[in-house]
């Protein structure tokens, strides 16, 4: 196994709102190894994006606040130390790409200048050198006629090309970790595949670790090594991609997998959907947050939050009373 690059321990991020304290990320722990592609899966509002913004301390404060936990990057806690130290990590060692390529580039600056920005900041390159490297990067991510296109403005690029540019910006300083926050959600399906392929190949070539946030299990299946399933600010199940699809444990994961339309299911079968809707994070009921929607709910689920139970080989673990008490276990 490769060395551990990033270790998140009991991370908690809350937002103080007028409706009370919203626990957006509640006691999350995971590790990321060198070259690993980690998928963070869950519905909208389950805390995926907040988790990743917390990693770089980009949560707007106030109203947000990281209330506990540790984020060890190469052994150093990113949550202690001043703003300046984290600023050098951002874009340098940990880079991010976002969901909407249409607004993720400054409309007034040429593409090349925007890519050169991080290089000048983190690598101390001069303007000329950085611009040359920017053109090189554009070529590497598959922009045809890269030298000429480098001097174009963002509005002259299509959505897929802009997302490529975002990736070029993110990888410009050879980061150890690339955080991709739903990078394909705003793109059409053929472009999605290309972008995922690009991320995958970059991760392979540069032994770059990737944290992929998505709500699309198809994306996860194609690219990730390990998967964390999130629900209401908690990681409810962790598993390698093969284990998760072969044998989902948590009722929520099972529900998610059953909700995928299947071509071999027959046309008369209605598509499954998990009943109910995600809970309000400002007023969570006691016990397991998934209980109201769970078809296997037991008496204890309404009283206590199930602990994280490790099963089989790491990273396999699940937070569910079905497995915690030893009654359930792997069937």
């Amino acid at each position: 196994m490769e060395e551990i690059l990033l270790e998140v321990n009991n991370l908690r991020t809350v937002f103080d709102t007028e409706y009370g304290t919203v626990k957006a990320v509640d006691d999350i722990s995971f590790t990321l190894r060198k070259g690993e592609v980690l998928g963070l899966v869950g519905e909208s509002g389950c805390g995926k994006s907040v988790t990743n913004l917390s990693l770089l301390r980009l949560i707007p404060e106030p109203p947000g606040r990281i209330s506990g936990g540790r984020i060890l990057f190469k052994g150093k806690d990113l949550l202690v130390g001043d703003e300046e130290e984290v600023r050098l990590v951002r874009g340098g060692s940990i880079a991010m790409i976002f969901q909407d390529p249409m607004t993720s580039l400054n409309p007034l600056l040429k593409i090349s200048l925007q890519i050169a920005e991080a290089l000048q900041l983190h690598r101390g390159m001069g303007r000329k050198e950085a611009l040359a490297k920017a053109a090189e990067l554009l070529k590497a991510i598959g922009i045809p006629d890269a030298e000429a296109r480098a001097n174009d403005y963002p509005h002259q690029f299509s959505g897929g090309m802009r997302q490529r540019v975002m990736i070029a910006m993110a990888i410009s300083c050879n980061p150890d970790i690339l955080i991709a926050d739903e990078p394909t959600t705003a793109l059409d399906v053929t472009i999605q595949a290309q972008i995922l392929e690009l991320i995958k190949s970059l991760s392979g070539e540069n032994t770059m670790s990737v944290i992929m946030i998505t709500h699309d299990l198809g994306v996860v299946a194609g690219i990730c090594d390990t998967i964390c399933v999130m629900y209401a600010g908690k990681i409810v199940e962790k598993a390698s991609v093969d284990d998760l699809f072969a044998q989902p444990l948590h009722p929520y994961t099972k529900g998610l997998l059953d909700s995928i339309p299947r071509i071999d299911a027959g046309s008369r079968k209605r598509l499954y959907s998990i009943p109910g809707s995600p809970p309000n994070l400002a007023s969570l009921p006691p016990g397991c947050p998934f209980r109201p929607r769970c078809d296997k709910a037991m008496e204890i689920c309404g009283r206590e939050m199930p602990p994280e139970t490790s099963l089989g080989d790491a990273p396999r673990s699940v937070r569910c009373w079905l497995y915690a008490s030893g009654e359930g276990g792997l069937e």
Partner: protein
């Protein structure tokens, strides 16, 4: 590159042409005027425009040459309009950027102050300021400038808030850019477009406000000419001697047009998305 692009932009070029013409008139008026703009001539009251008498734009109710008065008033009107807009734009924009970028308490404090200023009708506020400061030419600049502050604060704050939600700002922060860098590299250049529109509007409105103030007797004091007090003087004789109102009115119309054309053209030049549009 700017000059070459300017040549292609006919609108901006027309604006520049008009403004340059006014500047030329100011320059000429410093050294030469057809007549003394304040000298009364009781033998030639309200004379229509005529080449024979030399009064090309006619004379007013005191027999003063209207062309000379327009030329002299040109510098006053331009200085007031530029000065007031500059004052309002600089202070208002700084306030708006500050409020929008920092948010929270600062936002509330600054924008409530702007709201208080905004709650007065602009002419009333200008009269109020003139009443406090006294009727001097440069006080007109302050009075109109203060009227503009909340307008610029609102425009720039709104633009900053919209931009802050854009992912390129998040992306800049996530790639390690500092707050100052993001502010000056990504935010400020992007609010220039709405600001330029506001500036060109303000330049025009300042001339009208100055006219209104002068009309009410609180602006430029007679006998010194401004386009505003010329118009207000002409009110009584407009039907009898239309030239007393038409020529100062035209001077205002073309200057305002010039400012607006320039503003429009500049906005197109600064936005790469509009640059190569035919």
């Amino acid at each position: 590159m700017g000059a070459a692009r300017l040549k292609k932009n006919i609108i901006a070029l027309a604006g520049v042409g008009i403004i340059s013409f006014y500047l030329l008139i100011i320059l000429v008026s410093l050294f030469w005027l057809p007549f003394d703009p304040v000298a009364m001539d009781t033998l030639h009251l309200l004379e229509p425009p005529s080449i024979k008498t030399g009064h090309l734009f006619g004379t007013d109710e005191f027999g003063r040459d209207i062309l000379s008065r327009i030329m002299q008033g040109c510098s006053v009107s331009l200085i007031i309009s530029l000065g007031a807009t500059l004052l309002g734009a600089v202070i208002g924009t700084l306030m708006g950027i500050w409020a929008g970028f920092l948010g929270g308490k600062w936002d509330h404090l600054i924008m409530r102050v702007a709201d208080i200023l905004f709650s007065f009708p602009s002419l009333l506020l200008a009269i109020f300021v003139m009443g406090i400061l006294g009727e001097k030419t440069y006080n007109v600049i302050f009075a109109i400038g203060i009227v503009y502050i909340p307008q610029f604060a609102r425009v720039s704050r709104g633009a900053i808030l919209t931009l802050k939600g854009n992912e390129f700002v998040k992306a800049a922060f996530s790639s390690g850019a500092s707050k100052t860098y993001v502010l000056f590299r990504h935010l400020v250049p992007n609010i220039m477009m709405p600001l330029i529109v506001q500036v060109s509007l303000s330049l025009s409105v300042a001339i009208l406000l100055e006219s209104a103030l002068s009309f009410l007797g609180m602006g430029i004091q007679p006998p010194y000419p401004s386009w505003g007090n010329m118009l207000s003087g002409a009110r009584k004789f407009m039907l009898l001697a239309p030239w007393t109102a038409i020529y100062p009115g035209l001077a205002i119309v073309f200057l305002v047009l010039g400012f607006n054309l320039l503003g429009d053209g500049l906005r197109d030049l600064l936005d790469p998305r509009l640059r190569n549009v035919k």
